[in-house]
Structure formats: C-alpha cells, structure tokens
Symmetry: C2
Subunit: 278 residues, 2 copies
C-alpha cells in the first residue's frame, strides 16, 4: 500500500517527462506530485493543469521561484511563477531565495560579485514584501526554503529555519510559509524548536537523506531515506506535532538515482518512505 501523504517530486525521477511522471504516479498509486517549472513550461501550463487534474493528483508544490538577490529582485520571473502556481492549484510555490549577487548557482563568482551577505538578505526581504501581496491576491502560498549553509553563497542566503521564520512571520501564515527539507536542516541544533515555532507555517515537508561523504558536486549529495545519516523519526514527529497534515515530498538530486530505472526508483522510494517516514 502506498502511504497516503507520499508525494513524488518530479526531480526524483528526472528522466521522466512530466507526462511520464504523472503516469508513474498513477501506476504506483501515488496521489500527489511536486512539479518543476521547467517541466511545466515544456508540457504547457494549461495542459499540465488538465493532466494532473484528470489524473486525480494533488500538486504538493511548484518548484521553484526565488533568486531574489539580483539587481531586479527577480520580480518578473517570480510573478510568472506565482501565476503558474495559481493555475496549477499548487499547495505552495517554493522559494529558493538566491545567493550573493553575482554568483551563479553551482558556478563561481563573476567579476564584480558582492560579498555583502547582510545586503543580500535585505534584498530578499524587499522582494518578498513586493511578491507576497501579489501571491495573496492569486491565492498562492509562498514557501521560503532555508537551504543547507554550504549553498549560502550561490543558492540561498536563507540558511536556517529560524531565519526563514523571522522573515515569514511578517505576513499571515497562509500567505508566507516555510519548507522543512530534511537534507537542509537536519544538522541544526535548533531544528526541533524551530519546527515547533513554525506550526501552521509549515507549507511543505520534503524528505531526502544526507549522504556521507558528499559527492564531488555537493548539490547531488541527497539519497533515498536510509542511505544517509539522517534520523527521520524526530524530525517527522516534530513536523507532525506542529500540525502539518499536508503531503510529504520525496525530492532527491542524485546522479545514480537519475541514471536508474525510474519505476525501480519509485518502488524503492515507497518502501523506504514507509519504513522511515510512515
């Protein structure tokens, strides 16, 4: 039996097209999917909305907006992402807020890049102030995702759940929530306290394991639950105690998993989910 709240984040089965991922969910009796904007654009927004609705799937999240630290705060692209999330009836739009201005994700600093971390964080707050009302008008919930501190320079200057909550709490909980992603937050000595503090602000719970040692590309250091070092029990219990009742997404960036047969990955994922998350 498939756990009722399991959601397949489509990046876990990256070889699958959007249609294949939706078919895979149906075939494997999974009732929710986390979508990526690139894949939605390829399939077409309206066609995707119809496809997932016809398949009876919930859209547990749309990944991702963000990258708010550049000179234009990424406003245009994020407004488009919000419109897409509304059209898809996604439970939230995940925001990966961006790193230091002038550093590309996974790349090195470009000439003239900024080392001003405090200023980058101010930009995130400013962009959020502009985007939150736009999202609220469209019934879209924004979900701030703190990323592991090893991505602070190039992907997200938001590094802890506490920091994300400081920002989110300026808005109603239904407008701006947070993502709890085990890979990013498991190490944090404050994580259980901050999950409790988050309460109804938890907009998404994403699970994957932290591999040790990390691979050469640290972005791909995620594994299926059980393949790494995370103790999922206390984290899941805290998320549960905080009142979160939404879908639980499995989102794995991993070269070996991407190379494997997606149907086998999904079958293993279901077993591991049942064993570690419940």
């Amino acid at each position: 039996m498939t756990p009722a709240r399991l959601s397949l984040n489509q990046w876990t089965t990256r070889r699958w097209s959007l249609r294949e991922a939706v078919d895979g969910c149906v075939r494997h009796d999974i009732h929710a999917i986390g979508l990526w904007r690139e894949a939605v654009a390829e399939h077409g927004l309206a066609a995707t909305a119809k496809l997932v609705t016809d398949a009876g799937l919930r859209v547990s999240s749309l990944c991702r907006g963000g990258f708010l630290t550049g000179p234009d705060l990424g406003l245009k692209d994020n407004r488009a992402a919000i419109d897409e999330a509304a059209a898809l009836n996604a439970a939230c739009l995940v925001l990966v807020v961006g790193g230091l201005p002038g550093i590309s994700p996974g790349g090195g600093p470009r000439p003239g890049f900024s080392r001003d971390l405090a200023e980058a964080r101010v930009r995130v707050a400013e962009a959020l102030a502009l985007l939150a009302p736009y999202a609220a008008e469209r019934g879209v919930r924004l979900a701030l995702e703190p990323l592991h501190p090893m991505y602070c320079a190039d992907r997200a200057v938001l590094s802890t759940l506490g920091q994300a909550l400081d920002l989110a709490e300026r808005y109603p909980a239904e407008q701006v929530g947070v993502v709890v992603d085990t890979f990013h937050v498991w190490w944090d000595p404050e994580v259980l306290t901050q999950i409790e503090r988050a309460g109804e602000r938890i907009a998404s719970y994403q699970v994957s394991d932290f591999l040790v040692p990390l691979p050469a590309d640290t972005l791909l250091g995620r594994g299926l639950m059980g393949d790494g070092v995370i103790d999922f029990g206390p984290l899941t219990a805290a998320v549960d105690a905080a009142g979160y009742r939404g879908d639980i997404e499995v989102e794995i960036f991993n070269a070996d998993i991407w190379a494997a047969d997606p149907d086998e990955v999904v079958a293993t994922m279901k077993r591991r989910f049942a064993a570690t998350i419940g």
Copy 2:
C-alpha cells in the same frame, strides 16, 4: 611589515616540517604559530617547546583535541593533548568535537554507526565535563570549535557559535572558550550576535576564505583571504569589539596551496592578511 597579531597555522604550509615552519616564521617576521599534534609528536614535545621558545614564537593554538563522540569519549587521547598544550604553553587547545559515532572524518558510515545526533551531542557535553577540570588543573584553555554544518556527520556535531557557547558557558571563560573560524561561521545569520555574546570566551580567531564552488573534497574548500566569498570586515570588527586581543591564525586546507612553494604562500598570506584583516 608583518601584522603584529598574524599567526601561521602550520597546516597552511603543510609541506614544511615543524622546524621549517618555525624557521619560516622567523624569516618572514611572524611571531606566532599554530601547531598540530602530529607534527609536534614527530619533532618531539620537549624539543618543540624549546624550538618555539628559542625562536621567540607564541603558540597561538594546539590543533587539535576532540573527537569526543566515540564510545570512550576520547578521554585518554584528549588528556594527552592537554598535557602537550601545557608543555607548549599554547594559548588554547582546539577541540573538534567529532561527528556521529561510527562515521570517520572524511569517510563513510561504518556498519552499526549511529544516526542519533542528540545523543552524540550529549556525549560531547559529558566528555567536556570530564576534560575541563583536567585542563584547568594544568592551566590549559579548551577552545570548542563549531565546524561548518557540512561536517556535522563526520567531524563535529557542534555546528554554530551559539551552540558552542551554550556548552562553554557551563565553565569559567578561562577554562573553556570558543574558536571563531571564518570559514565555518561566515554564513550564520546569528554570527555577529553570537560573537558579541562570546566576548572574553573567544579563545582563537582563525581566518581563511570560503571557496565557491567547493572542490570535490569539501575539507579543502578553504582559500587565502580574498580568493573566496567572505566579507572579513564585519567579522573581524565584531571579534575586535568583543574584546579579543590574541593572535589571528591563518589556517588553510587547500590542495593548490599545499602544492605551492611555502615561502611564496607565506608572502602572499601576509599581503592578504594586511589587506583583509588589518
């Protein structure tokens, strides 16, 4: 002119023997050195103490004790490290507290390893309670070093300065202090607040830059100041405002720097230190 508080951590010029590193300090007009236990053991403890004293060098730190999370809490080895720090008149003994039991530094989990992070942190506290009085009797100051969260599983379950201070504050400041290492803490949204809180507990200030992207072996992701993404100004100002007046160690783990001519590394290090730290 050499900045008066600059200390060469000998791992920065790892190709040099201990004697060569001491000679290098004298030749480059550097008045303090951070020593590593392996090198001290090779040269001999008494001989090292005489060598650095005769050269007029301060020992800014001995690296490193710790790895307290194993079944025996590492007590025997740490008592030896404390004795060595006393013999060398080191300003502090740096403690890298260790990761999850059963995971070797830089290695993968061994069969039967533990995922219980909370329990590992309890072990650190227990070991510290046994070691702090031993160190105090010998006039040695222990320095808890929070490591970057990417090393949480295999090197240090102590990941933030705030967490280190929670532990250190159970003891007098002259018995148990903390290390502020820019590479490890630069990303922390609380870092400036926690440096202020640390005050006289700052036992060591270590500087190196955070490289982006990280190399395949993340342990070697440090660079000379200016080669990475850290803005040293606010961190150094906060350490200064907290009242720290001790030596400032340059500690760099980097394959290219280790392969380079150590005399050139030291010359560049002095210039970069003057430009970024003052």
